[in-house]
Amino acid sequence: GPKVLQIPSHQIIDMGQMVTLNCDPVSNHLYFYWYKQILGQQMEFLVNFYNGKVMEKSKLFKDQFSVERPDGSYFTLKIQPTALEDSAVYFCASSSEGRTEVFFGKGTRLTVV
């Protein structure tokens, strides 16, 4: 079936540094999402993105976070600067239009030390 690829699968970064998480969404999908899952907790919505713009973001989407998809390449989540509480698994997702099946990647495990 359609796959969302996330690169890398694991990332360890020093607190205060910048990190970029990459997502290759399903081709021809138009809506893109990031979710965050802290160990032992539920997956939580961060942001959705359509037509080059953030449509909605949650309170977890701090000012240090940004998303973009330049020229149809990777959909990225950038955190600058990182903080210890950013340690989590970040799931990327995409859908062809709203309110239908959302396809998820395997996640990137981010550890901020």
């Binding site: 809506y31 999402y33 539920q42 449509m55 799931f91 709203g98 309110r99 959302v102 998820f104 996640g107």
Partner: protein, 114 residues
Amino acid sequence: GQQVKQSSPSLTVQEGGILILNCDYENDMFDYFAWYKKYPDNSPTLLISVRSNVDKREDGRFTVFLNKSGKHFSLHITASQPEDTAVYLCAAGEGQGGSAKLIFGEGTKLTVSS
């Protein structure tokens, strides 16, 4: 507060048995309800979903029931198999301009013993 809640963190069932996974939600505006299945270190994949204008949907061994007045939906699995062993996540959402923002439950870890 938690908008979507799964009552059981874990469940065990014998192979061939029937099981029910439950999910409660708070937001009256939710109009899309889904169950995702997740293996360790893998992506959540959609198992079955239903819109708010339907109170039941069946797909093979899997049936989702929606009780809107009770703000509750459930997943019934019949003839359970060892490969059903996974974490099951319920999710609910309301589309905004076409985008599907999903609110997830904490997950129920299901073990099917043979």
